[in-house]
Symmetry: C2
Subunit: 569 residues, 2 copies
């Protein structure tokens, strides 16, 4: 009963199988691995050279995608670098879209895991080829600098999608398609049942993207739901539609070429004035919701979208504890980059930096609290001294609200380093800001104990490192965090930190003073979010992120003695 689409997709599966199998090994080993190069030099020269022109060719036009008859056109994206994108997108009637997706579901479900994996792997490979162009779209929506937009929005996002596919393949392949169940009955003929198992999708999936990492944060949910058989509505943030529209187009092309309904992956757009996420998330047909964004909306989804499995990544208060260091300059340089990279707009950027008010030990002697605080401020100042380099690291501030927040937070503590407005060398209209660094006492929890999204961080004076650990633990337990960095040369402190990390389920980074930042998480190795504290209700990605998206349905058929071939018994 194979369909043509199924056969074609399974051919793709066989073609991509070696990569998929290597990815399965990678998630088991968790060393360094990636199939998608993060250097532009490893992409065809033409694709790199033409990237900007291809991006610009999309601007000021309507972006065509497959879907039901559109109701309206929307789209008012404005680049954080100043330009109006001028791209419009079709908006569909929600019911018409969901009716279409429900009609498309059975063929996608019945194609089976291998066919779906084949299609998803092909989509990924084409997304990878598109990375240089996609990077411009990510840059001019998120505000990331080009190189970061390329890496995080391209190969790193694709890595995460492949990681999801590896888990999904493992999970789906673990369920056999058929088996014979033969139970001995003493001298009687054994009981014989022929059994079948089907991977059955939950229903329709909704993936709600964010404005800062439109692809990186959307792909895991998108691919996890799609490969499990669920048609996916990709709801883009009104400020970052284009990267997802381009991604949806690639998926639709692959699906259409194979003979599936391209609308199995559909773009959903809205405006800040008339948002649609709430209505969609509560629809009885929607059984899966992925969301990255504010705690308020994430918590609302968890509380209200009860008909769905809801996966959220929300706000948190990422923390760094400085107890003692070998080389303070190296630590300060590392943290300066952590705080500057994409202007603190990563969900993993530290906000609370705990330092004993009596200062810290270093290999070069004692440093007072003021020396540590000033040293951090100085390191940021030095690092951002060259404006061109600064802009290539800071990127632009995605939203006005974040720029305004910097101003609003200036009075929350003593200024260690004020935020500056910078002029971008290529984009005079870019919204560029340097980090704001404030000094506060541990008692000022109302200042540092709320997420201050953007380039805003606090150096917090504590009684001692035990106090630092206690405060960080309490805050993470209450408000959540994706990352905790600890600097110590004392094994006892590190042991305590290791225990604390388990108590509040936060990823711990120890003594990062070289080329790795606490904000960075590597696919196939690092688990992004634990799913065990308020910053996220799921790990993105692990087995639990995938296996809840399908159920297994079985059938078993009695084989009577007269029906049996002799060789079976």
């Amino acid at each position: 009963m194979s369909t043509q689409a199924q056969v074609a997709a399974i051919e793709l599966f066989e073609r991509h199988r070696p990569t998929l199998q290597r990815a399965v090994e990678a998630i088991g080993e968790r060393g360094y691995w990636s199939p998608f190069p993060e250097s532009l030099k490893q992409y065809p020269e033409a694709s790199v050279q033409n990237a900007q022109a291809q991006f610009e060719a999309l601007l000021g036009r309507h972006f065509e995608l497959e879907g039901p008859d559109p109701l309206a056109r929307v789209g008012r994206e404005r680049s954080p670098y100043g330009l109006e994108l001028g791209v419009s997108y079709d908006q569909y009637d929600a019911d018409a879209l969901m009716t279409r997706l429900q009609a498309a579901l059975p063929a996608w479900r019945d194609a089976g895991p291998r066919a779906r994996l084949g299609a998803c792997m092909e989509i990924l490979q084409r997304l990878n080829a598109l990375s240089p162009t996609l990077a411009h779209a990510v840059m001019h929506t998120s505000g990331q600098a080009y190189m970061m937009a390329f890496q995080a929005g391209g190969p790193h996002a694709q890595d995460r999608a492949l990681e999801v596919l590896a888990y999904a393949w493992q999970a789906m392949a673990a369920v056999p398609e058929t088996a014979s169940w033969i139970k001995p009955q003493g001298k009687q003929a054994p009981l014989l049942l022929n059994k079948r198992w089907h991977i059955v999708p939950r229903g329709l999936a909704l993936v709600i993207g964010c404005s800062t990492f439109p692809t990186w944060n959307t792909y895991p949910g998108l691919f996890a739901s799609l490969v499990s058989g669920n048609p996916v509505m990709v709801k883009a943030h009104p400020g970052a539609i284009l990267p997802l529209a381009m991604s949806v187009k690639v998926a639709q092309q692959v699906l259409a070429e194979l003979g599936f309904d391209p609308a199995l992956v559909s773009l959903v757009v809205d405006t800040p004035e008339a948002p649609v996420s709430q209505r969609l998330a509560l629809d009885a047909r929607v059984k899966l919701v992925d969301f990255t964004g504010s705690s308020a909306f994430g918590n609302w989804l968890e509380a209200n979208a009860r008909q769905a499995q809801v996966f959220t990544e929300k706000a948190g208060i990422n923390s760094v504890i400085i107890d003692s260091v070998r080389d303070f300059q190296a630590v300060a340089r590392n943290l300066a980059l952590s705080l500057s990279l994409y202007s603190g707009q990563m969900c993993t950027t530290p906000q609370a930096i705990y330092v004993p008010r009596g200062g810290i030990a270093t290999a070069d002697g004692h440093l007072s609290f003021a020396e540590v605080a000033q040293g951090l401020a100085g390191a940021i100042r030095d690092f951002l001294g060259d404006n061109e380099r600064a802009c290539a690291v800071l990127g632009a501030i995605q939203s006005n609200a974040t720029a305004e927040r910097i101003q609003a937070c200036r009075r929350l503590g003593e200024l260690l380093l004020d935020s500056e407005v910078r002029e971008h060398p290529q984009f005079p209209g870019a919204r560029v800001r340097t980090p704001l660094l404030l000094q506060v006492d541990a008692s000022a929890r109302e200042a540092y104990g709320e997420e201050r999204f953007g380039p805003i961080a606090f150096v917090i004076a504590t009684d001692d490192s035990a106090h630092s650990l206690q405060l960080a633990g309490e805050l993470i337990a209450e408000k959540g965090a994706l990352t905790l960095g600890v600097y110590s040369t004392d094994d006892k402190v590190l042991e305590r930190a290791e225990a604390l990390a388990q108590e509040v389920a936060v990823a711990l980074s120890i003594n990062l003073d070289g080329g790795v930042l606490v904000n960075q998480s590597a696919a196939f190795s690092d688990f992004h979010a634990s799913g065990g504290n308020p910053a996220a209700n799921a790990s993105i990605t692990d087995m639990a992120f995938v296996v809840r998206r399908f159920v297994v349905v079985q059938s078993r058929r009695h084989v009577a003695a007269w029906e049996r071939a002799d060789d079976l018994l």
Copy 2:
């Protein structure tokens, strides 16, 4: 940093490892397999002969378990076979108990997966040895006949626990304990991070048992939570405490022998007048809840125990569709046994039997609707003709409410077979009832479309088999079901049934007319519940049932160039 308890438990892991590995193979192959014999003949003669005396030695006494200082003693179990058990159990202050469990958590967590598996496997093996005695406790609380109480309450329940442990071992072993992440940096020295991963339990677990299958329905949640590192409160149904008290005692003995706090598995008791489940389920420390029972309470848990992962098995309307058969007598005999076994008190027993009002085709010619309906009634009557055999299959009705329900339902349709009160040959006080079989029209959905727990079933006259499939599908989608049986000699009908099973996520059994019943599900092969319709929000057991009980917490430590051994690079 190994503790003595950890070392001892890992020794047990090594001892039981072959069985565990065979179980891992079994869940991948899903053929017939069980390590726990279901024939009493395969248990030591003495343990079988002494079983009744050992059970009786427990009656009329206080049952001693480990826990905090008790507040009170409760327990008023009365056997459905008539006798008062007279056993009392300690009731603890909930806060004191949870404080004790929280204190016990870190050592259990830090012992690691292998140690926890070793302890759990040992508990299981000792439960298996106790099966003949445990069977009496299951019998005199659930009302199951002795052989069923032995099989379902002993080896089959242990099979399900082992299945959980196999999934847990697979899931936990898939996360490496450590890895080196080495990222090339061109001509520079590679980046090197040493990484560690910890399996971290969610918190405290609550497992709420039911009165009909106190061990079979409790063990999966108990072992899944425990092996993942979560201390477990086993809340017994007030009518079926003893089998769980005995099981908890075995767990406590193993834990104590190893040097862990035996209270890691604690019994919680209450009374119908002062139930404690709601309060416990809402406690912030409780992160996992397993429940088997009414839809009302299951839905309440799902809606309200928001701080926890909630796994429920609730009510449903199991259905049978008769389209056409080869041998109607064989089908009727099979269904007679399905409806009689444990007086229809299995969560998998059919309630709604759809038959075309124009009758069905058989290999021996056409049978009218009336012939089918009367044939089923006659088969039950014949099967239960011998009172001794009848009582050995029916067992006793667990609760008065179920006995009363039979009476209350008599007017819901035309009587095909009235329920009879029978006298049990050994237990004159036993509450024995034969099945009630009613005939209704498809339009009488208010009659057959609500769960009527107990020996109550409906033969429903439909327009044709397409109508039967449609009605069954609608009802299962709305009310849920664990099982759907279909009888047809027409491949088209069977294909449609196979599709329907996927649409409403119900386990399908085809043409069972021999020694396997639609109500029976075999561990390591059948998935019990799909988790995809209202009868259960989880499959018990699959990977998703296990992986949500722990999170993975990582730490990574930068290894500077000067710290590295040359052979690493």
